[in-house]
């Protein structure tokens, strides 16, 4: 009872700091989310300071150190902590530089699909009628496609490469944002505060993006974290198929594709990039869970 009262007191407080404090209160209740956040910050720092942290150049080939196992295994060398790959490149350095590409992919794909998806979704939900029908039909068609297959076709049209892979993945993800934004706008549109703003003489653009949109952000933020991690997975899959980042880029999926022929004997070249993808995506998903708990009022335990 007292907690419910406290919550309502916090949420009626209009100041930004109080809202942030409330958000942090719910977010930090989820221990996994905090671990995910800490690890994510670690990854971001790793990506930013990669040139300073990595012991070697990620594309430098050491001819005398081909397929050296990790340091704790027999034959391992202290200057290659996680061993080397088939052409003598340091695994650890390549993995560290790989964070740059993965996080870059996540940021660009999420931003692109979020911005474009929200614009279309808000327009569809606000104007309804034929605009809505046209936009949603197109989105339905995109959604009816296997996303990876569609990305593959788009890459075929645009040509292989990381940038084209990112464009393809953003296009595939955007319908989710369109649907969420449209649904949220439709439920907010008839609220009193929107009508009040309309009566006060606000134009369409202002009503759509300044009055309504800020109140629809919660589900979009949760979807954005989901897209962030899925984008990393999909970009790695495209890289693995040879349609994403091209060698010698130290992208994790591309590294796995190069390592496939050593699957029978050299476990570290196959296992380590996968583990890197796994923990990155896991950290982001844990964070997303915490965000959902903190932002989605339906799930709040009062």
């Amino acid at each position: 009872m007292s907690q419910a009262a406290a919550t309502s007191a916090v949420s009626t407080d209009p100041s930004r700091r109080a809202r942030l404090a409330e958000f942090w209160y719910y977010f930090s209740e989820n221990r996994g989310a905090v671990i995910g956040l800490v690890f994510f910050i670690f990854l971001v720092l790793l990506a930013i300071f990669a040139p300073l942290i990595a012991p070697h150049d990620p594309t430098q080939q050491y001819r005398d150190a081909v397929l050296v196992p990790p340091v704790w295994q027999e034959g391992g060398r202290a200057d290659f902590l996680l061993g080397t790959d088939a052409v003598g490149r340091d695994m650890l350095s390549r993995l560290i530089f790989g964070t740059q590409f993965s996080l870059f992919v996540g940021v660009i794909v999420t931003t692109l699909s979020l911005v474009v998806g929200v614009v279309f979704g808000v327009i569809a939900g606000y104007f309804r009628g034929w605009v809505d029908t046209a936009i949603m039909r197109v989105m339905d068609i995109i959604l009816a496609f296997p996303s990876l297959l569609l990305a593959l076709v788009l890459v075929a049209i645009l040509g292989p490469g990381l940038v084209n892979a990112m464009i393809a993945i953003s296009l595939v993800y955007q319908p989710h944002f369109v649907r969420l934004a449209r649904a949220a706008v439709m439920s907010e549109k008839t609220r009193d505060y929107v009508v009040a703003a309309k009566v006060a003489g606000a134009g369409h653009a202002r009503l759509m993006f300044k009055t309504i949109l800020p109140n629809c952000m919660a589900p979009l933020i949760v979807q954005a974290t989901l897209s962030f991690s899925s984008a990393i997975l999909d970009a790695a899959a495209l890289g693995f198929l040879g349609m994403g980042a091209q060698p010698p880029t130290p992208e994790w999926g591309t590294m796995l594709a190069e390592a496939r022929e050593f699957i029978q004997s050299k476990w570290w070249v196959v296992t380590l990039p996968g583990v890197a993808i796994l923990i990155t995506v896991l950290a982001i998903n844990l964070m997303g869970d915490g965000l959902r708990d903190a932002l989605d009022p339906k799930l709040k335990r009062s």
């Binding site: 068609i141 496609f145 899959a237």
Partner: protein, 338 residues
Amino acid sequence: MHAPIRGNASMNRTFRLLKRRLVGAIPVLLIVVIGSFLLLEAAPGDAVDAYVASVGGDAGMIEALRQGWGLDASPMTRLAAYLWALLHLDLGHSVAFSRPVRDVVLERLPNTLLLMGAATALSFALGTALGIVAGARPGSARDRALSIGSLALYAVPGFWLALVLTIVFSVELRWLPLSGMETIASGKVGFARALDVARHMVLPVTSLGLIYLALYLRMMRAGMAEVWRMDFTRAARARGIGRRRIVLSHVARNALLPLVTMLGLQSAQMLGGSVVIESVFSVPGLGRLAQEAVGSRDTPLLIGIILVSAALVIVINLLVDIAYAALDPRVGASEASA
């Protein structure tokens, strides 16, 4: 006495749903075909370029090839010709395989359907069962362990899981074959052949199924957590019904419906996921065919694959909707009146 009348009405409803959806599917497929045709048309390079790049040839040969493969006409003429052929269920001619696209696609489709079907069954059955275990007592140790496990599984890249499973079960333990659909030229027939194919499919199906298992587990658990809070579960407890029965026939049953919808939505994703899995295990399916078509710029083949997979997704979603209408009378009623 009432049963036959009700059965008749629901048959009618299903039929009307079927008719409406099939009519609605035609424009969607048409847009998909025209859209992909025009997009691929805009791409630089065509099948002749890819062919000459791999085989070699002079300008005269390039011209002759373009004429021979019908690539010298204007895009609009070719689109019209393609659509006309499509009316007769002719998907054109694959330049990379020198065979009709329809034959190539139909040859590969069963393998992908087998892979997808088995993986879907595995992930849905196991995911739902584990979801019920987790959702039976929200917050218990078992629930937390399963939630963490599913979250980790959800973060695993499918192709990497496939590689790791191969290392463990094919390379180290040597229990299962490394790749392919069946032992080549084994001469096996009947049951022995089916067993051989099954042995080859264990790893691909497991890797594809495990990735999607996490999704069903999480949805089932979340759904059950919501149902536990509803009044009717409290009422059932107050009436003194055993916990096991409440879990299974009250909570789990009501949480199951959204999963059926998910099943349809996931089928499209699974078709995409099978591209990678087929590539890892060299399964001659639709996904690998798509990859090959992209590599050889085989436009007719690629459009054929797109068309077939779009039709597949539409059919699966239709089947799911019919199942849904049968499970939940409220949905069926609103669908019929709409």
